[in-house]
Amino acid sequence: MMKLNKFFYLMLGAAALTITSCNDIDEMEPESGSLTLEQVQRTNTELPVRTEASFAALFTHIFSPYTGTSTSRADNFGYVMAAISLDAEGADLFLQDNNYNWFSVAGELSSRNANYANPFIRYGVPYSHIGKCNDIINGFPEDTTDPDAINKIAQTRAVRAYAYMALAPYFQFGYATAADQPCVPLLTADVEDVTNNPRATVREVWEYIMADLNYAVEHLAGAKRANKAQIDQNVALGLRARANLHMGNWAAAAADAAAAAQGYEPASMAEVSVPAFCNLNDHNWMWGADVTDAYAQDNGYKTASSWISAFCGDGYAAATQNTPQINTLLWNKIPETDVRKGWWIDENLHSPNWANVTWQDPGNGTSATGDDIAKFKTSDGGKVEFLPFTNIKFGQQAGIGSIMNSNDFPLMRVEEMILIQAEGLAKSGNDAQAIQVLESFVKNYRDPQYSVTGRGLTLADEIWFQRRVELWGEGFFTGDMKRLGKPLVRFHGPGTSNEPDAFQFNLDANDGWLNMRFPQTEMNNNRGIVDNAGGSLPVAGQNPTLRDGVTD
């Protein structure tokens, strides 16, 4: 027991050593994976260029999974998912009535269920975007004169307007009839209690949008953006054109659209007579979602490639016959001479647009070209037989059959601006000019034989027809239908449409079911919300006599 002292002190020393090193506990940080706020701040201080990253995130938000629900859901991909949903809720685009279809809630219009993920994501994405915008705007001094800061604020306010525009049309009827009805909550600086933030009126929401867009248009003058995922003055003008169109400011809409289109030329007939609409670099795109390879690798099924392109080797749609198809009510109205007729394969699975397209199966080396692709099946079932009227409008950026789901998604194309200009002119009493704008576009870029009166529609309906064909699959149908006060017409009675039988129903223009319902989470946590009501889940075959003026 004697010689113990040495040992004893040694042990005490060891213990003391450990204890003194206990400030270690303040050094437990993640090493990538995620960064803590502190690490972000330190990075920003030492490498100031990194501060740009939170601004850039405004634009990746557009197609990224919403973190408010499971990010692994195959239908969780931001505004792009909302665009597909909005068209699938409409009359012209459908996916199948089978259990692979994650958008079937849109097809059957059960997306009014307060507990469904689809409307939850469509509601959560814009609001979380708005929150980010507010953070960025508030991060700058209010009286800043730094041109870079002002540019960022202007872009951010345009993004915020875009976010509100993804909500406002769907929670209430159009501006023309419902300007004073409740719309959605506004997240302004005046909101004191987010748990009691009632719905602003339609007018208030659009005025808020307009204020943001006015600022953006004014302050983006002459500024060059870093890339086409960001916003420049043209895009801001384009957004304001959309807002004016919705509010019925026809002349302003036409003027904004014309200004927005400056410097852009529509895609040529040659360019759109092959599968396309998947590349941000296309000259007719003014603004788009820029999906990178890295993103696609991590989120392969949650992409435009997976859901709207026929040529995706490892996605949902091509493997399950859910590549969106066109309703024959609309397709039948497209003349043979229109290059867009070939954006969908016909009842015989033919389209001239894919004559030179080849799909090769790496699994067994077999391949198919042109119309043979329709019946071609890959050895792992990644592509099965296509159904008649399947779209081949959207290509696959990484190559036909590629498993790299990196398709970009168009958010604004010059063609839309031309159509807005035409509509604005027509409705502000300048029919002749409108016809000239419309004919010049369609004749030169889509259908050499085009005549505005060819279908015998009113000018307004003809313009809507052009929008429905040109912008098919890009998320415009439902918004247009509501601002135009049109009914939802998917069929004209038994045997008139190729939509799945269960999705064959029509809704009157003032049917309350056309308005979205608020998610349960929102109602549980924001007691200011009074939900929409009216209408009921449609049943197959209802209202067969309704007509929309275009597909009659």
């Binding site: 437990m28 939170s54 959560g124």
Partner: protein, 1084 residues
């Protein structure tokens, strides 16, 4: 070593001769002889007891009948001393001339078990808290890969979920659910060190005991990590100087599914008929004429894109329909259909996929010691097969525990264990709704679908010698389930290798008697490497084969420094003081890589992957640390009154600086009533102790490692040369410990010579500052929908009773029974003021003041409208006629109606779903070398949400999915009293499956009774085995998880502990396995 053993053998043989000799001499009885018999209280003879004549060296050893004879006893001798291990030594007065009868009493000291508790051991009689220990024998009875199975039904207050596939362990909860959003998992300690590895990686054969510390006073010294109770695992070691014992154990058996499939429609004709009727009804009941309805069903029955089934597997004569207008299969239809290219017939996926598998396990151990060195060494091998192909868990384990008394004042110990695991697992296991999940698709595949592709002549199609599976490549397509997960499971490979090293090095210095200074250092290194091959013959075809490699490393170091001082004053006052410091640090790292285009289709490694565009790599690390100072004071007055108090000051890096440290502690007292003078004559009471304790503990687990901080993820856009950053989680710098304060009061008793032992306890604990993720309105604009806060209080209280009795104890017959009963009341006492009135609502449960953790909150089913067969739900309105989406916490209900529209239905509080009583009982009988034991567990009075059943009750809405036979009894004009809504594929007739709405229709009693274990063994007579130089040989058959009785066939109420929903993953997951094995255990 061999020589030593032979020597011992020789001695034993001699002793046997001595016995024989003794009985021979007895026949020649003389005067001055003392003779008699030594028996136990039960009357059973005690063999080998030593009988000594006091004051002499004369004596004898009792023979096989307990008899002894001593001749030539001097007349001066008056007393005998009789001793035997485990019994009290007795002195008796010699009676000459007649046979003496001496009854030996069990030694109370021996029977007063020593239990392992926090940082040491204690005697059961001195313990003031609540704990229960499960010993090696109980663990050995279970033939499972994870020792925690032995706790189920045996330890009152331990609740467990069912375990799944090979290598999985049940989830354990101790005394209810103590936490809202944070983890409710108990702290596992192995040989004094917090355990990082899963309990299934510890070989149960190495475990000496498992102590479950249930109350806060017992676990308070673990501070921040003790709030959910503590399971202390102690591995085997030699008990002082002993001859080496070598034990060999080998088991062989089979694994199969314990939980059967639900009663699904397995007749293809019936399946078509039911779906056809649903299609017909969709039109006929929604405005169509019968003609239109038949036309719709006829047109679409085979059209998978129009609500139909896709496949035709019956041949019907040209021009005839498959299903007649009477909704019956065309009598001319024959099973099997050829379209000229392929032949289609249904396969029984369930029977094709699930099968029994082989299980084998071998363990060898050596334990022994001298007066200064003791050791235990073991090696084990387990191969646990799964019940689907390419599913297994192999474990190679080894352990060496050595203790060396280097000096009188220095003791060193080293425990080293190394485990290697080799596991094959299934893709997407547990993923609800995933086509890649073999369990999900097999349990939910409709009865008409082929698994294999057949040539037109009906033969199975082969391709380059490989079976061709149906993945929708024929001329038919299923309406759900892409690909073929059975094929993928066959050709893909998912292999995980794990290496777990744990080393502990300790030194105890004893400078003066009663003072121990201990330092313990331990390191745990867990490395795993998983490779996945996506086969070009399966789901990897479009990638031309792909490989994913994923490695993880979890390295933790735990340091403990303790001073322990023990002193007894005046033989009455015993004081024990403990002070220490402990630090735990862990670093977790991950690395993953993926690439495609495999040259060799069978090798899932990256160097075999030649692609470039999809190549990806990634890695990250993370760090966490806990540290704390602790102290404990124990005082014992004359083994009659016991007091103790403990304290721990603990820190966790999970919280922000300034909120990291917390103080926890406990006090306890016990009174050994049986030691009082007035109890002296009550001989049948061996122990009667009243105890009461209070303690506080904390919880920091389950909120991530950086819960205080806002966290961000980053990405880079190569084309735009631009980084972006987005918030991925919102933190809270004010976040701190969840604190639990609990009292425990009870009685421990042992009666009738320790024949009946029991504990009755009451506990009452409140967790405050609950960690939970607060939901914000979506319109508040947060990137994330929730952030963590501390708020509210949660109560758990209940009664527990454990009884353990020996009903019969004779030489050749012993019968024991045990019972464990526990109640738990779980209730929120307070919440965040912002939600105090309205509660926190989900679509299946509500968190509200006065409600439990599992308070159901859902749509209320109002039965079928007998007029039209539609499902009805309740909807309530307030006084102004506004529909109440939520009926809790808002305007009062003024009116309640029924509605057909499930989206209009109100949500209601439907009560607590937790069980009223849980527990188990068991029995063991040993007689004439045979031993038979059974252990049951049960639960009463709770409810379980049977989402898997809801999914099967889809009424035709999930075309192509399996249907439950109950659907055959759905409402029809001829069957208007049915409580099952009419069949229909129309969305408007959704019976809550299309909308996946949780509703009371699928709340089912969670009562169950399970036979966890049944073992029958036979130990060969000693005289046979000793001839073979063996100490003992036992053969046995054992069954684990033999049956479970539940309210519905196929339902497993043990799948989760709470409210489930439609996407409840029971049928998506590995179901519990039944294991039947035979084994032999030999000791040398």
């Amino acid at each position: 070593m061999f020589n030593v053993k032979r020597e011992i053998m020789k001695q034993r043989v001699l002793m046997l001769f001595a016995c024989i000799f003794a009985s021979v001499t007895m026949a020649m009885a003389q005067s001055s002889r003392v003779s008699g018999v030594v028996v136990e209280e039960s009357g059973e003879p005690v063999i080998g007891a030593s009988v000594l004549i006091d004051g002499t060296s004369m004596g004898a050893v009792t023979n096989i009948d307990g008899q002894f004879v001593i001749d030539n006893v001097p007349s001066t001798a008056t007393q005998l001393t009789i001793s035997y291990v485990g019994f009290q030594t007795q002195k008796v007065t010699i009676t000459r001339g007649r046979e003496m009868r001496i009854v030996l009493r069990m030694d109370a000291e021996m029977l007063d078990e020593v239990m392992v508790v926090a940082y040491g051991t204690t005697k059961r009689s001195a313990f003031t808290g609540s704990a229960m220990e499960v010993k090696t024998e109980d663990i050995a009875a279970h033939v499972t890969s994870s020792a925690t199975n032995a706790l189920v039904g045996k330890v009152a207050g331990v609740q467990a979920t069912s375990s799944g596939g090979p290598g999985s362990a049940p989830t354990i909860r101790i005394r209810g659910i103590g936490s809202y959003a944070a983890s409710s998992t108990p702290l596992y300690i192995i040989d004094g060190v917090p355990m990082d590895q899963g309990v299934a990686t510890v070989n149960p054969a190495d475990i000496e005991s498992m102590s479950v510390l249930k109350d806060a006073s017992a676990s308070a010294i673990y501070g921040a990590r003790g709030a959910n109770g503590v399971v202390i695992i102690t591995t085997k070691k030699a008990k002082g100087a002993q001859d080496a014992r070598v034990t060999l154990d080998a088991k062989f058996g089979s694994n199969s599914r314990l939980i059967p499939q639900y009663d699904v429609i397995d007749n293809p004709a019936q399946y078509y008929e039911t779906h056809y009727k649903a299609m017909y009804n969709a039109i006929a009941y929604n405005g169509g004429t019968p003609q239109e309805a038949y036309a719709y069903a006829d047109k679409n029955i085979f059209d998978q894109n129009n609500g139909g089934l896709g496949y035709q597997v019956f041949t019907v004569p040209q021009g005839e329909k498959l299903i007649g207008t009477n909704f019956k299969l065309n009598p001319n239809a024959t099973l099997g259909y050829s379209d000229g290219e392929y032949f289609y017939q249904p396969d029984d996926w369930y029977n094709e996929v699930f099968h029994n598998s082989f299980r084998q396990e071998y363990n060898v151990s050596v334990t022994g010691g001298t007066d200064r060195l003791s050791y235990f060494a073991s090696a084990g091998y387990l191969n646990d097969g799964g019940n689907v192909n390419n599913s297994k868990y192999e474990r190679y384990s080894s352990r060496a525990n050595v203790e060396y008394q280097a000096k009188k004042w220095l003791k060193l110990n080293t425990n080293l264990s190394y485990t290697h695991t080799d596991q094959q697992a299934q893709n997407s296991e547990g993923d609800w709704g995933s086509s890649g999940n073999i369990f999900y698709i097999t349990n939910n595949m409709g009865a008409i679908y082929p698994l294999y592709v057949r040539n037109a002549d009906g033969s199975l199609k082969q391709e380059n010698g490989r079976q061709v599976y149906d993945f929708n490549q024929t001329n038919f397509m299923r309406p759900s389930v892409v690909g073929n997960a059975v094929r993928d499971n066959e050709y893909d490979s998912r292999q995980t290798y794990g290496d777990i090293f744990m080393g502990q090095w300790g030194a105890t210095v004893t400078p003066i008697q009663g003072l121990d200074i201990t330092a313990n250092l331990s390191a745990t290194d867990i490395n795993s490497r998983r490779t996945i091959l996506y086969s070009v013959f399966a789901d990897g075809a479009s990638a031309d084969g792909a490989a994913s490699v994923y490695t993880t490393r979890n390295f933790s170091v735990n340091q403990q420094y303790m001073i322990n001082w023990n002193k007894t004053f005046n033989e009455k006052h015993t004081v024990s003081v403990l002070a220490g410091y402990e630090q735990y640090k862990v670093k977790y790292s991950e690395m993953s890589g993926y690439n495609d285009h495999l040259y060799n289709p069978f090798v899932g490694e990256l160097d075999n992957a030649k692609g470039t565009s999809q190549k990806s790599v990634g890695s990250y690390s993370d760090n966490k640390m806990n540290e704390g100072f602790f102290g404990r004071l124990q005082y014992d007055y004359n083994s009659k009154y016991f007091f103790n108090a403990s304290i721990r000051r603990d820190a966790s890096s999970i919280f922000a600086p300034g909120h990291r440290w917390g103080t926890f502690g406990s006090v306890g007292a016990a009174w050994a009533i049986n030691e009082e003078a007035f109890m002296k004559d009550v001989e049948w009471v061996d122990l009667l102790k009243a105890k009461v304790s209070w303690g506080s503990t904390g919880n920091d687990a389950g909120m991530g490692w950086h819960a205080y901080a806002d966290r961000y993820t980053t990405s880079y856009n190569e084309d735009a040369k631009e980084y972006s950053i987005a918030m991925s989680a919102k933190g809270n710098t004010d976040l701190t410990w969840e604190k639990k304060k609990a009292i425990n009061a009870g009685i421990d008793f042992s009666l009738f010579g320790y024949r009946l032992n029991g504990t009755l306890e009451y506990y009452n604990g409140t967790t405050s500052d609950l960690l939970y993720n607060k939901t914000v309105p979506l319109s508040a604009g947060y990137t994330v929908a929730t952030y963590p806060v501390n708020v509210g209080e949660l109560l758990n209280r209940g009664w527990e009773l454990s009884l353990d009795g020996t009903i019969i104890k004779k030489k050749n017959l012993q019968w024991n029974v045990n019972v464990a009963l526990a109640t738990n009341h779980n209730e929120f006492l307070s919440l965040d003021p912002s939600v105090e009135e309205v509660g926190i609502k989900n679509s299946n449960r509500i968190v509200r003041v006065g409600g439990s953790m599992q308070q159901g909150y859902m749509v209320k089913y109002a039965g079928v409208d007998p007029e039209n067969g539609r499902a009805q739900y309740y909807v309530s309105y307030d006084a102004e006629g506004n529909r109440l989406s939520n009926t809790y916490g808002g305007n009062p209900i003024a009116k309640t109606e029924k509605t057909y529209d499930i989206t209009e239905a109100s949500l209601y509080d439907v009560g607590d779903l937790l069980p009223d009583l849980q527990g188990g009982f068991g029995t063991s009988v040993s007689a004439f070398g045979f031993d038979l034991s059974a252990q049951f567990s049960f639960s009463l009075g709770g409810r379980y949400y049977d989402g898997s059943y809801q999914q099967l009750m889809h009424n035709g809405q999930s075309a192509g999915s399996a249907m439950h036979k109950d659907l055959l009894d759905a409402w029809s004009p001829e069957n208007t009293s049915s409580n099952i809504p009419r069949l229909s594929t129309a969305a408007i007739d959704d019976p809550s499956t299309g909308s996946q709405t949780t509703n009371t229709r699928f709340l089912t009693s969670s009562n169950y009774l399970e036979l966890n274990n049944l073992t029958l063994g036979y130990t060969f007579p000693r005289k046979w085995t000793s001839a073979l130089q063996m100490q003992s040989v036992r053969v046995y058959v054992a069954g684990e998880n033999l049956f479970v009785l539940t309210a519905r066939k196929g339902m497993d109420p043990r799948f989760n502990l709470g409210v489930g929903g439609y996407t409840n993953a029971q049928s998506s997951s590995y179901s519990t396995m039944r294991t039947v094995t035979a084994g032999i255990s030999v000791t040398f």
